[in-house]
Amino acid sequence: MKSKLNLDVKQIDEARSSAKRIAESMQEFIDRHTTVSTERTILRLLGVDGTDDVLTPLPNVVVDRLLDNGQLSKGVANFIGSAIHNLKKSPQEISEMVSEGTLDFESLKPVKKEDVEKALKPYITESLKKIKTQTEKREEYLKTIGEGKKPYLYVIVATGNIYEDVVQAKAAVHQGADIVAVIRTTAQSLLDYVPFGATTEGFGGTYATQENFKIMREALDEAGEEVGRYIRLCNYSSGLCMPEIAAMGALERLDVMLNDALYGILFRDINMQRTLVDQFFSRVIIGYSGVIFNSGEDNYLTTADAFEEAHTVLASQFINEQFAVLANIKEEQMGLGHAFEMDPDMENGFLYELAQAIMAREIFPRASLKYMPPTKFMTGNIFRGAIQDAMFNLVSVWSGQSLQLLGMLTEAIHTPHMQDRYLAIENASYIFNNARNLGEEIEFKENGIIQKRAQKVLKDARALLMDIEKEGLFSTIEQGKFGGVKRPRDGGKGLLGVVVKNEDYLNPFIPLMMGGAK
């Protein structure tokens, strides 16, 4: 396809290769480390669930024990495997024994590597089968009842109470939503464990728990069958429990997951080493289970200027794409993020937004681009807010975005009320339908404002990527180049949970999932 923006293919290729080298060099660091959350994820995938009597999740109990004893560098799978081999008990039973104090891993006889792997095998197979059953179910739904047209209408629910969320979500489906995201409660990203069971108390969002996932999944399947359209469920594989939530999402058939180490570093002050290692395993799981991940570049524009810093969004998309490639994620599952966040008082702002949206589409032709609405410049003037959202919707259908996170006219005031969501869906449906094929009809003036804007953003992104390649990603973040937020390499939350692997380290899921095991 010919570029409508007259983008220089050579520059795109250079930017992409640069991002590839940045990701690969980070991957070397990642491959040498594991984290407490990565290890807890392995336990969850081996079927360990539930809590001890003070409500600490069993995966935490077991992993913390190994961490305290300085044994985590071998990986929890080694210990569980040898315990299965020795005791002929399941990973769940073994974890319960550890928690009750009736099993000490050190008392176990050493076991050969092959025997460890053999002991784990049935549990691994069962887990992968569960995930495959879910992916097949999604495919089955898509084949039978189908799905909405792109850009998918993506709305959020955020009542804090999963049962109230269900009411809101079902209503949204009847109003036309294609994707429902359950926003997480404020403090969850900093919890180093995943709460257990159904929850009804959250602030600005609802806890991500496996039970909550299950409740919402059932509700959306039911609503989807009623309206004859598959409804995608979205949640957050982010924060200190990134990979665990990815595993829970894979098991409960989530379809979309927010997943971006940079977001956690910049906006939640999570330690960069910790979350980049966590991100890798979570992306492997996401890739394997057919989930679309969403990256969080759009957020940079809430702390930095959307016009001046547009190239940081593109540079970060390139890097996120390459991290995804390393985790074996298909292009269609790459929900790279960007946003319509320029100051509405800026002359020709619409032209610049349009240029950048089309640019993202041309540079990532098959990605499931996630386009975020105006938030920062939304005000209490909800009537004007509805127009800002309309402008955003027009750019989206024109430029062929994939996941349209709908703007709410009350964005500056509160998390969405039911009618806000209805008005947002109506706004987008009207514009998408009314301007469906606009993009195919229009070309741009050579060297006009639109072409020049896109070319400049690409040029600046390429230059930034070359800088990052020289500096390394860690120092780039330390210097505050993304979102204007500076974070030290050893600062933030969660660094204590990062462990160097020793030569016996084992994570049996990674090779199997990357190889697309059945």
């Binding site: 209503a171 404020t186 602030f203 600005g204 939640r268 702390t303 920062k376 998390t415 039911m418 009618q419």
Partner: protein, 261 residues
């Protein structure tokens, strides 16, 4: 005759009785109000009637359901017009405002030089689980907001911005260790009144440690008013569209007033 009519008209529009003010649509005292809301009832004539009855109870007479829409799952959305029966005595309104003559950044500098002369230490943070920093950054950081420079640029002021998600205990610890003259707290997330709990907790901790009177304590955020802040035990509260000069003017004059210099 024509002349007289014109005069009457001019009189009609300007004769606002400020002791009995009502909403204005297109003629004085028509009381016109537009509302939008959702009821958890299925769409239909009964739903519309329910909306009318409810609107009357709000004090809006002759309610007119101009739009209603089925939102699925037994919920209905309404747009309803009505004529408000209530009035407000505008001559008798009282608002608690921060009482300070706001000085510009340069004026603050001059005031500091003349009346204080020693470094004024101000510690700020977005506290509790709140991860929003743009508000506190707007007040404290060099760059400021909307062309208003932040406290870091002020003569005589040493501004320490601790960022977001800062526990109250940590904020106090820092304030003590740098001998802060003032603490600035920003709160953005207000769902289920988390900000109230968190703001109250800070004051309780300060009181428990006998520190409350030693520092000027200020709260700010999009849903913070001076009145609310005072109720919660703060010296001042600043809401939307407030800038560093408001805070600086308040802190500097208050220090002089309290002889903290």
């Amino acid at each position: 005759m024509a002349q007289k009519k014109k005069e009457e008209k001019m009189v009609a529009t300007s004769k606002v009785d400020l002791t009995q003010v009502k909403p204005y649509g297109d003629s004085l005292n028509d009381g016109m109000v537009e509302t939008a809301f959702t009821l958890p009832v299925p769409h239909g004539e009964e739903a519309n009637e329910a909306a009318r009855i409810l609107t009357k109870k709000m004090g809006l007479m002759e309610p007119n359901v101009v739009y209603s829409k089925d939102m699925g799952s037994g919920y209905t959305f309404f747009v309803v017009y009505g004529k408000c029966v209530h009035t407000v005595d505008f001559t008798n309104i009282k608002v608690t405002k921060v009482e300070v003559d706001v000085m510009s950044r340069e004026e603050c500098g001059a005031y500091w030089e003349k009346n204080i002369g020693r470094p004024v230490v101000i510690v700020g943070a977005s506290t509790g689980t709140d991860a929003h920093t743009v508000g506190i950054d707007a007040i404290m950081n060099m760059k400021g907001f909307h062309g208003h420079f932040g406290l870091e640029r002020y003569k005589g002021i040493e501004a320490i911005n601790m960022g977001s998600q800062v526990p109250n205990e940590q904020l106090i610890e820092k304030a003590v260790s740098v001998k802060a003259d003032a603490i600035l707290v920003s709160q953005t997330v207000t769902q289920k009144d988390v900000h109230i709990t968190n703001l109250t907790n800070l004051i309780e901790l300060l009181e428990a440690e006998g520190l409350r009177d030693k520092m000027i304590v200020i709260a700010g955020g999009p849903r913070i008013s001076h009145e609310l802040a005072q109720e919660l035990g703060y010296d001042a509260g600043f809401g939307p569209n407030s800038y560093a000069e408001d805070t600086a003017s308040f802190v500097l004059t208050e220090m002089v007033k309290r002889k903290m210099v």
